[in-house]
Symmetry: C2
Subunit: 326 residues, 2 copies
C-alpha cells in the first residue's frame, strides 16, 4: 500500500459490489488503498453444485485476487495451477466440462465440508480470507440460495451451462434470479451498508446483468441502497462500446439496449455518479449524472491502484457537493 494514498482515504469505510474477473481487479486496488476499511459484497448467483462440491466462482475469483493467488493470464482460478484431477476424472469417465484445478479444489472441498457441517458461507469466506491474510472483508451477498437463470432463445439455461458450457453463445432474452426475492441480505452485508460512517458504495466494472443484478435482486440490499446517504458510484464495464472481457456488450445488444455509458447509468437508479473510460468522454453530456472520465482498462497493478484512487476521490467530491448544497 502506498502510504500517501492510504492516508488520503482515511475518510471512512467503503463497500464495493463485485462479480468476477473485471470487478475483482478494481476490488484489488480498493483493497490495497483501504485495507480493512473495504467490504466487498460478492455475487453468489453463479454458485452451483458440481461433482458434489459447492462452487462459488465469483467469491473465489475475488478471494484469490485479493490474496495475490489468482492466475493473472487466465483471469479465474489459482496461479501455478495443475490439472491432474481433471485428467484422472476423464479416465474415470466422469463429466469434465467444468475445469477444476488441483489447487483450486482445496477451496471447494473445504467450503463443501464447512457448509455441510452448518457453517454459513459468510463465516467460511471470512475464515478463508483470514487465513490468506486479506485485510478487506469479503462477503457473499447472502447465505441463502440464489440461482441465476439465463433465459435465452434456446430456453432457460443455468448460469454455468450458459457461461462455460455454451460460452455465452445463445442470445439472452432476460435474466432470472431464482429465490432472490426470498433471500435475506446477511447481517454482515447490511451492517456494512448501514454503517453511519460509510464513505461510498462502488459498483465494480462487472457485468451489470449477470453479476451485479443478482446482488440488487435481494430486496434487503436493494432497499438499503435506495436509502443510504453515502454516494453510490459505478465504474462502467464498457470501453468504446465493448467490455474488456465477457459478454456485457453482446447481452446489451440482445436486450435491445445501446452499449453505452448512458445505458449503464440508467441501469442503476440509485447511482450518484459514473466513471467512464476516457474514450467515452463524448457520451458524458447524455448521461444525466456527474461523470468522471478515467482510464478504466486495468492492465497493471498500478492501474488498479490508480483507478481505485480515482473512484474514492470522485465519491468524496460527490459527498462534499451534497454536504455543500445541504
Amino acid at each position: 500500500m502506498n502510504a500517501e494514498s492510504a492516508a488520503q482515504f482515511r475518510a471512512g469505510p467503503v463497500v464495493a459490489l463485485c462479480g468476477g474477473i473485471g470487478g475483482a481487479k478494481l476490488a484489488l486496488g480498493l483493497n490495497r488503498l483501504l485495507g480493512k476499511n473495504l467490504t466487498v459484497v460478492v455475487n453468489t448467483g453463479d454458485d452451483f453444485e458440481h461433482l458434489g462440491l459447492h462452487i462459488s466462482p465469483d467469491i473465489d475469483t475475488v478471494v484469490y485476487t485479493l490474496a495475490g493467488l489468482n492466475d493473472p493470464e487466465r483471469g479465474w482460478g489459482h496461479a501455478d495451477e495443475s490439472w491432474n484431477f481433471m485428467q484422472a476424472l476423464r479416465e474415470l469417465g466422469s463429466e469434465t466440462w467444468f475445469q477444476l484445478g488441483d489447487r483450486d479444489l482445496a477451496m471447494h472441498v473445504e467450503r463443501t465440508r464447512a457448509l455441510q457441517s452448518g457453517v454459513s458461507l459468510t463465516d467460511f469466506t471470512a475464515s478463508i480470507a483470514r487465513h490468506l491474510k486479506i485485510p478487506s472483508a469479503v462477503l457473499p451477498m447472502t447465505d441463502d440460495h440464489v440461482e441465476t437463470v439465463v433465459i435465452t432463445e434456446e430456453g432457460p439455461l443455468s448460469f454455468q451451462r450458459y457461461f462455460v458450457g455454451l460460452q455465452c453463445r445463445p442470445a439472452v432474452r432476460r435474466l432470472e434470479f431464482k429465490n432472490a426475492q426470498n433471500a435475506a441480505a446477511s447481517s454482515a452485508v447490511l451492517s456494512a451498508l448501514r454503517n453511519p460512517d460509510l464513505a461510498a458504495v462502488i459498483i465494480c466494472p462487472s457485468n451489470p446483468y449477470l453479476s451485479i443484478d443478482p446482488i440488487l435482486a435481494i430486496p434487503g440490499i436493494r432497499k438499503t441502497l435506495d436509502e443510504i446517504k453515502a454516494p453510490i458510484i459505478a465504474v462502467s464495464p464498457l470501453i468504446g462500446g465493448q467490455a474488456v472481457k465477457g459478454p456485457t456488450a453482446k447481452i446489451m445488444a440482445e436486450l435491445g439496449l445501446p452499449a453505452d455509458s448512458g445505458t449503464i447509468a440508467r441501469h442503476y437508479p440509485f447511482l450518484k455518479g459514473l466513471i467512464v473510460d476516457k474514450v467515452d468522454r463524448g457520451e458524458v453530456s447524455e448521461i444525466g449524472l456527474p461523470v468522471h472520465a478515467a482510464s478504466t482498462l486495468m492492465r497493471s497493478l498500478a492501474d488498479r491502484d490508480r483507478l481505485a484512487g480515482e473512484c474514492l476521490r470522485f465519491a468524496a467530491q460527490l459527498a462534499n457537493a451534497v454536504e455543500g448544497s445541504g
Copy 2:
C-alpha cells in the same frame, strides 16, 4: 496374459481375499492369469470420511494396481501423482495429516458423489473397474459400514490414526471391527463364494489382523468360507519372520504370537493349504496342513504372475487330492 498360463487355469472361477499393498500384488498376478474368472473381495474396514470425502484405501490400492495406475515406489496412490491440492489445503489452514494426491482425488470425489446419490459401494467400484478396463471383479467386502478400531496400549485408535497418523507405533492389544456383526456380505460376494464351479479361495499375503480379519468378521462371509468345498489357501505374509512391508510381525509380537507360518496357518481355521516362502521351509512340518514353498517376494511383474500360477496349481492339487480321496 501369457496364453499358456491362461489356458492352464481355465479350471474355474477363483475368489481372492485382499487388503492393500501386499495383497494387491498377488491380486494383480491372479488378474493377469484369470481375467474375468477372478473376483477380488477387498477389506473396507479402513474406509473413512476425510474432508467430507469417502476414502476406501484398500479398494483404491487394488483398483489402481489392477488397472496399472498405481505408484510402484510408494505402494499406495496413483502413479505420476502431484500434490498441489495438499499444498493449497495447507495454505487454507486445513488438516493435512492424510495425503491425498491430485489424481487420486478424482476417485474420492466421484465415490463420495455416487454414495451420496444412493449408489452402492459395490456398484460404484464395478463402474470404475469397467472404465479402467479391469477384467476381474473387484468387490468391497460389504456395502455396510464396518470400522476397524485398533485397541492399543494408548487406548482405542481409528485405523487411519493408528496406521497413518501414528505410523503403527502404539502396541496393539486387540482389534475390533465395529458393526461387522451387523454387516451383510453383499450378494455379489456371496454369489462369487457360492459359485458351484469355484476352483479356489486365495487369501492374499495381506496383514491377517488388520486387512483379512475385517473381511472374516462379517458373519455371512465367514459362514460361507466354513461351508464351501473349494480349497481355501493362504499365502503367508511373512518371510523369515518379517513382513515385506507393514506391521504384521510387530503386531504378532504385541499379541504374543510367534511370527511364523504355523501362527498364520492356525489363524485361518478353514484353511486347506498354506504357501510359505522358501526361506521358511524348515517350519513346514509344524504347520499341520499341506504346504507349498515358493518365492513369495514379488519384486517384478513376472514374480506376481509366477506366484499367482503357483497358488492356482497348489489349489488344484488340493482339490484333486480331495476328489481322489472322496
